[in-house]
């Protein structure tokens, strides 16, 4: 072959190669906002398997997550803002009202995704004005974790209702310990109160939809909360979820009200002294019925995502059965996919799952209203007052009701 022919062929081959490179789909760099913690470390490991696009996870502590997401939503597209956001279900209404999230219905339709695989109660929290804004995941609720060995030693049985729970806490308090619960001024105390309220069929609104925090169920829930704090181990007034779960794990408290998302640590021999003896019970009301304040997270796409299709594909993949099962098996996260909660392989690893599912099935979602956030902030302080002073729960709630007189609960 002549040198000229060889050169022409070489140039042609190079041209074909260069053209093929040009036609190859370029990868999108997606910036993903998630809440920091052990689950985020796991998410990073799972994300490493996603080859379609380049994913960067920005995990931020809970206190700063929402401010950072809100700041990102205000930023110009492609200015280093988030493409995919992991959103607390409580923030969904605010985000969708402000137009920060992208409706996903068209993408879902063209991708042929069956949204029926998700628990309806949780999926409903992703739908606003008939449009779907995300995929539910990582459901959480407060449950009771207890050391069965300590109970057997004292001849006690697992509490089945609120009064038995108080009695058990009182028994252990008299023995020098008590119950562990997150009673620091904050939203964790509100969750305990809400779960007790919902468990007995109560609500923040009466039958006519009028705001009422002085109902007998509400007063009962506040009274139980007050008694539990009285019979708690010292220091709970400064504890949030992490310290509470740690106290139970390290046998500082034989029983505690812990967040289900932290229950997996009880089985970790490096972190727990109750790996073999831990058992779980629902946080029930007076009647023995237990209901959660349904709290979960949502994989959503930011309106200012630079490549909405790529962002959707990633969100759908992360919330899909394969990635969800991996996370549930690895970290015992409570998935929103119905079939996973019945998976024997998962049940063997997450013994608390039946308790969680029982509570979630009866659960309610807090009204996603701006006015409700105002009430919740006030309830945080009222519950702190109940826990730290001699004020009677009924009187504190009456005062709270009065302070909410000017609030429009339709907005």
């Amino acid at each position: 072959m002549k040198r000229t022919t060889k050169a022409v062929l070489f140039i042609l081959a190079m041209a074909v190669f260069a053209t093929s490179l040009g036609y190859a789909q370029p990868k999108t760099n997606l910036l993903v906002s998630v809440w920091a913690g052990p689950h985020a470390d796991l998410q990073k490991r799972v994300v490493a398997e996603y080859k379609k696009d380049q994913i960067t996870i920005d995990d931020v502590d809970y206190g700063n997550l929402k401010p950072k997401q809100l700041t990102s939503f205000q930023a110009a597209m492609g200015s280093g803002n988030y493409d995919v956001v992991w959103v607390n279900s409580q923030w969904m209404k605010e985000y969708t009202d402000a137009g920060y999230l992208l409706p996903l219905d068209d993408f879902i339709k063209s991708a042929g995704i069956d949204m029926g695989i998700y628990a309806k109660g949780l999926l409903d929290g992703c739908i606003f004005n008939g449009k779907t804004y995300g995929f539910p995941t990582f459901a959480q609720t407060l449950i009771i974790a207890y050391d069965s060995e300590a109970f057997a030693k004292e001849g006690l049985k697992a509490p089945t209702n609120a009064e038995e729970l108080v009695a058990v806490a009182k028994h252990f308090k008299q023995k020098g310990s008590g119950i562990a619960l997150p009673a620091r001024q904050g939203t964790a105390a509100v969750t305990i109160f809400s779960q007790l309220l919902f468990s007995d069929g109560g609500d923040y609104f009466d039958k006519n939809g009028k705001f009422d925090i002085t109902s007998k169920e509400a007063v009962y829930a506040a009274t139980i909360y007050d008694q539990l704090v009285q019979y708690a181990v010292p220091g709970v007034l400064a504890w949030h979820h992490d310290q509470t779960a740690e106290a139970v794990r390290m046998k500082n408290a034989p029983i505690g009200i812990i967040m289900s998302g932290l229950a997996n640590q009880n089985a970790d021999p490096d972190r727990s002294l109750i790996t073999k003896t831990v058992k779980y019970a629902p946080l029930a009301g007076k009647s023995g019925r237990a209901a959660a304040t349904n709290s979960f997270w949502v994989w959503a796409v930011a309106k200012n995502a630079k490549n909405p299709k790529a962002a959707f594909d990633f969100a759908a993949w992360m919330a899909g059965p394969v990635a969800e099962k991996k996370q549930t098996l690895a970290d015992q996260q409570v998935s929103a996919i119905n079939s996973l909660t019945k998976d024997p392989e998962i049940l063997a690893k997450a013994p608390f799952l039946p308790v969680v599912m029982e509570q979630l099935a009866n659960g309610k979602i807090d009204p996603p209203l701006a006015s409700f956030a105002k009430f919740k902030a006030a309830l945080v302080v009222s519950l702190s007052e109940i826990a730290t002073t001699d004020a009677k729960p009924a009187e504190v709630l009456a005062k709270l009701q009065q302070s909410m007189a000017g609030v429009d609960f339709t907005k």
Partner: protein
């Protein structure tokens, strides 16, 4: 008859040179300080939250400022912030002065060893300080272990778990972190006092206390003014230590103006009210620390 002097700026004479040299700084200060400040003040006059834009319908005038003075939580935050500030500065000054004097009196080897050690807290971020002290105040923490040695417990000093001691606990944490700063500054002030004054005092037969109150303290007035201003501004906007340690609780007993402004903006999505709180904080800071500073400077100029 005298001619009126005309004010003319000449490029040739270089009259504009100082202005030109200052222009970059002025532009930076204007764009990063004045513009955001004016924007923030504008926001405080409207009903604006995340996702809500400024519009004529959202104009509230000074309603947010009026609301502030009728808001019990805001007033509690003012009280807590001022209490924190006064308690923190007082402790910083007393402890810092005592430690600085002590470190000057001990043998040189000991003071050279101790001085770098005591400055360590100054190098730690206030959030980390808050989180560290959360463990110190935990019933299983070192504080209650030490108290236990003398027969005291959480019932005697409930720390961050009681409304009566939560603010004091945050002030103690602040002392731990900021006293080293005072030690450094006061030490510099002490070393600048002429030795002749002490010598004269000794000849006159003045005791240690008389010398301290008649010579040392008056000579440190300028140093204290600087500390007072820096610490004053620093403590009145306190956020991180309290946020990490108590979150403002229990029962809002340690809530500060900055924490309240933060919660209004990021938990209630009420940016306007948050801005009104921030501007009120700024006004309070100016009243407490700004005016005395101006008066001090004017008096100094008068003396000069």
């Amino acid at each position: 008859m005298k001619k009126n002097k005309t004010f003319e700026l000449s490029m040739e004479r270089g009259d504009l040179l100082p202005l030109l040299l200052m222009l970059p700084t002025l532009l930076v200060v204007f764009s990063v300080m004045v513009v955001p400040l004016l924007y923030g003040f504008t926001l405080s006059l409207f009903d604006v939250g995340f996702g809500k834009r400024i519009s004529s319908q959202a104009f509230l005038g000074f309603s947010n400022y009026i609301k502030f003075f009728g808001d019990t939580t805001a007033l509690k935050a003012v009280f807590n912030t001022v209490s924190f500030s006064l308690g923190a500065i007082l402790g910083d000054l007393v402890l810092g002065t005592l430690c600085a004097v002590f470190l000057l009196k001990v043998p040189r080897f000991l003071s050279s060893t101790l001085r770098p050690i005591v400055t360590i807290p100054l190098l730690i971020s206030p959030v980390v300080v808050g989180l560290t002290w959360r463990y110190i105040y935990d019933p299983r923490g070192i504080l209650y272990w030490i108290l236990g040695l003398v027969g005291l417990g959480i019932e005697d000093f409930p720390g961050v778990t009681s409304a009566s001691t939560a603010l004091l606990s945050t002030v103690i944490t602040h002392w731990w972190q900021v006293t080293p700063f005072v030690i450094i500054v006061v030490t510099a002030g002490l070393l600048a006092i002429p030795e002749e004054l002490y010598e004269a005092a000794r000849i006159d037969g003045a005791g240690a206390f008389t010398t301290f109150f008649k010579i040392t303290l008056p000579q440190l007035t300028k140093v204290y003014t600087v500390i007072l201003l820096i610490s004053g501004v620093d403590t009145i906007k306190v956020f991180d230590i309290i946020y990490a340690l108590t979150g403002g609780g229990p029962n809002n007993s340690s809530i500060s103006l900055s924490i309240y402004a933060y919660s209004q903006a990021f938990e209630q999505s009420d940016l306007s009210y948050s801005m009104a709180i921030s501007f009120t904080t700024m006004a309070i800071t100016f009243l407490i620390f700004g005016i005395p500073f101006i008066r001090h400077n004017l008096a100094k100029e008068g003396r000069g």
